[in-house]
Each structure stands twice: as C-alpha cells, then as structure tokens.
C-alpha cells in the first residue's frame, strides 16, 4: 500500500521536498512511517520527541494505523501568531 507524506517547515527543508510517497506493509503505523523517513534522513531523528502527526488532515497519534491512500503529515513544533 502507498501513503502520501507531507512535511512542513524545517522537516521539509531536511527532506528537500514538501511531499513524498512511500510504500508500506499492511498494518504500518504513523510511527513506522516516521522511523522509515528518519532512517532515510538522519537529521529528522532528533525531532522524534517534539513532532506532532496528522492523518488525513486531523491530528493523530504515532500508533495510529495507516491505510492505502492516506495522507500522513509530520509537524515540527508550531510557531503561529
């Protein structure tokens, strides 16, 4: 199955693209998507404790299971206002 991953702010700079797709095994979670990306882009790893995640544009948790066609987003600490 395949998911779209959106990255924002510094996370996007590290990966070099705002959006990418990844093929995953069934049962994969948002956390496993993150670990795969952190393996590809080691500079992402230090963000593990401070990121938030979203699934299909709703806040989610790292243990949420993803499905084919889902949009996963990783959000560094926010700074609006």
């Amino acid at each position: 199955m395949r998911v779209t991953v959106k990255l924002f702010a510094r996370l996007r700079d590290i990966a070099g693209v705002p959006e990418l797709t990844r093929d995953l095994a069934p049962g994969a979670t948002i956390g496993s998507v993150w670990r795969q990306l952190a393996g590809e882009f080691p500079e992402l790893a230090p963000y593990e404790r401070s990121i938030s995640s979203a699934l299909n544009a709703d806040y989610s948790r790292m243990d949420a299971v993803v499905r084919d066609g889902d949009e996963v987003a990783f959000l560094p600490p926010v700074s609006g206002g």
């Binding site: 924002f8 401070s50 544009a57 987003a73 926010v78 700074s79 609006g80 206002g81």
Partner: protein
C-alpha cells in the same frame, strides 16, 4: 470548510471587515439575533517585530498546513463557545512573506461586557500558538531560522488550562 470568521490566506488582514462580519453574522449565534446587546469589541493584531532574541529581523515567512489549521481554529472557536458562551469570534491568520509592522494575525471578539471579550481574545491567541499548524521562518541580518515553539497537541489539558489561566489573569 473556511468560513468568513475563521480563515487563512495571503491577503492583508482587515480587522474592520472582520468586526463587521461578526456584527452581521455573529460567532456564537446569539450576536446575530440581537447585535444591540453587545457592548464590547476587542481587536488584537499580531505584528512582525524588527527584533527577536537580539537579532535584527528583516522579514518573516509564514506557512501553514491549511486544512488542519482551519480545523484548529474551529476547535478554538468551539472551546470559546463552551467557556464564554456569549462571545463572538473572528480569527484570521496570514501566510507568505510579511514585512516589519505587517499584521500576521487578527483576532476580533465581541460580547455584552468587556471582560469576556478581552479574556476570550487572549485565550484565542494563546491557543493559536499552542495548536495551530503554522510556522514562521525568520530572516534576519546574517541568516535565517525556523522558529519552533510548542509541540502541537490539542488534547493536552494542561496546555489548555494554562491558556485559560493566562486569559483570566
């Protein structure tokens, strides 16, 4: 769904228009039924400062995860309806490049008495800073840096209580 009251966009912010929309349409429903009952409108504008942490700021660039940011605004509006039932809220955030003294956020609250409009307005900006998926990149003399504040967790009851404490101080 982006309403006239809760919005993210690239255009300059217009608090007058926001206040007019709020008067006509109401944030809580109660306002529109009888705008004459309201005695207070509070407007907060957040501006781009020319200094931050000892750096000379040249300009900021804002970005947002727009669909989630609008949902975060809706959540904040919902929280305000629960805590301050008579308050109407309009909340607009600007993204893209913003120069010094330009407004990045405008929050307008309206209520029968000033205390609620002030408190709800302060609560709204505190919550935006806690849970809205929006980021600013600061361009200063000598470089640029992403500003990273709070880890966004809308279910963090402690953060929400802190926003309410600040709002009611």
């Amino acid at each position: 769904m982006m309403s006239a009251l809760l919005r993210i966009g690239r255009e300059p912010l217009d608090p007058q228009e926001m206040a007019a929309t709020l008067a006509a349409q109401g944030g809580s429903g109660a306002v529109a039924e009888d705008p004459g009952r309201d005695g207070a409108v509070v407007v907060f504008l957040g501006l781009v400062r020319n200094h931050n942490l000892g750096r000379s700021v040249r300009y900021l660039e804002y970005e947002a995860y727009e669909p989630l940011a609008v949902k975060a605004f809706e959540r904040i509006a919902h929280e305000i309806r629960g805590r301050w039932p008579g308050v109407g809220l309009a909340l607009h955030h600007r993204i893209g490049r913003l120069d010094i003294s330009e407004a990045s956020i405008a929050i307008v609250t309206r209520s029968a008495h000033r205390a609620d409009a002030y408190a709800a307005n302060r609560y709204a900006i505190e919550r935006v800073k806690q849970i809205a998926p929006i980021w600013k990149r600061e361009y200063f003399d000598g470089g640029d840096v992403w500003i990273e504040g709070a880890t966004a967790d809308p279910d963090d009851a402690q953060a929400r209580a802190e926003a309410e404490r600040v709002a009611c101080a």
